[in-house]
């Protein structure tokens, strides 16, 4: 039986207009299970955002959430895609993976809850902080998941705070 669930956290209500001027639109593939390349996409995202001259706080928060999300894809999924969109108002990082999905999102969001393997823990991850950090550093965070299918995350980091 497949089970779909989703949740949204909003600290602020960003008015992100779809027709707004898009400054950057990029798509990156992430290889599930390949710990050698884990982190490569986030490093790329960080340098793109730096090149755009975004405030260092926005670059920092975007780098943290994309790094954690990328580690999750590598740790749990078969493959994933990270889409980066930058408008004058916000950075949007959307992550779609093909993987086991998350049966209980509420539980997965708790600090310290983890289903990570020993290999992931030995790398210094898998202590149940990833999704919590992503939520904490995003201005808006959407998550939805279907068991045996995959997980979708969308993080919005505002450039101009209302």
């Amino acid at each position: 039986m497949r089970k779909a669930s989703s949740a949204v956290w909003k600290k602020l209500k960003p008015e992100v207009n779809a027709s707004e001027n898009i400054l950057v639109k990029n798509s990156f593939d992430v290889d599930g299970g390949n710990f050698d390349t884990a982190g490569t996409v986030s490093t790329r995202i960080k340098s793109i955002l730096k090149e755009q001259g975004l405030p260092s706080d926005v670059v920092r928060r975007s780098a943290i959430v994309s790094y954690e999300a990328e580690i999750n894809v590598v740790s749990y999924a078969k493959r994933g895609v990270i889409n980066l969109t930058v408008t004058p108002a916000a950075v949007e990082i959307a992550v779609n993976d093909e993987g086991p999905g998350i049966p209980d999102i509420e539980k997965a969001m708790q600090q310290g809850y983890s289903t990570a393997s020993q290999q992931i823990r030995e790398m210094g991850f898998g202590a149940g902080m990833g999704l919590y950090n992503i939520k904490s550093y995003s201005d808006r965070f959407d998550i939805s998941s279907e068991v045996d299918k995959g997980t979708f995350l969308k993080m919005i980091i505002l450039i101009q705070k209302p």
């Binding site: 710990f35 490093t43 790094y67 954690e68 210094g124 991850f125 550093y137």
Partner: protein, 123 residues
């Protein structure tokens, strides 16, 4: 303080970055959990950790960490050394445990990259 002085007071060996020992450092962060390094470490700080794999180098690079000090006498993995060379992040190794390493550095004027994590931290 120069990284060279950090090396001397911790009786550390230089694994990578002999040429970067004149770099100035003033803050540090210590953790074995890379999610916490991502969340809390500040750019330009030194990272004290007991982990030895390549992921610490990538995480350090992502957070613009100035140098890594591996504690408890551990040696970084071959992959970590290669990656540190590539990304030009110095690695020192000390026999002191994390608590002692932090205490020694603190007593010589190095402070935490942040003091505490309170309510408004994430904003």
């Amino acid at each position: 303080m120069k990284l060279r002085e950090v090396k001397d007071i911790l009786e550390a060996s230089v694994v990578v970055g002999e040429e970067k020992l004149d770099m100035e450092v003033s803050t540090a962060f210590g953790a074995d959990l890379m999610s916490d390094v991502l969340a809390f470490a500040k750019a330009g700080s030194i990272l004290l950790t007991g982990l030895t794999n390549a992921q610490i180098i990538k995480t350090a690079a992502d957070r613009s960490i100035a140098a890594i000090i591996i504690v408890r006498g551990k040696e970084p993995s071959t992959e970590a050394i290669e990656m540190a060379r590539e990304l030009q992040i110095p690695i020192l190794s000390t026999k002191y445990i994390l608590f002692e390493t932090a205490g020694i550095l603190y007593s010589k004027g190095i402070v935490g990259c942040l003091k505490k994590v309170d309510g408004d931290f994430y904003k």
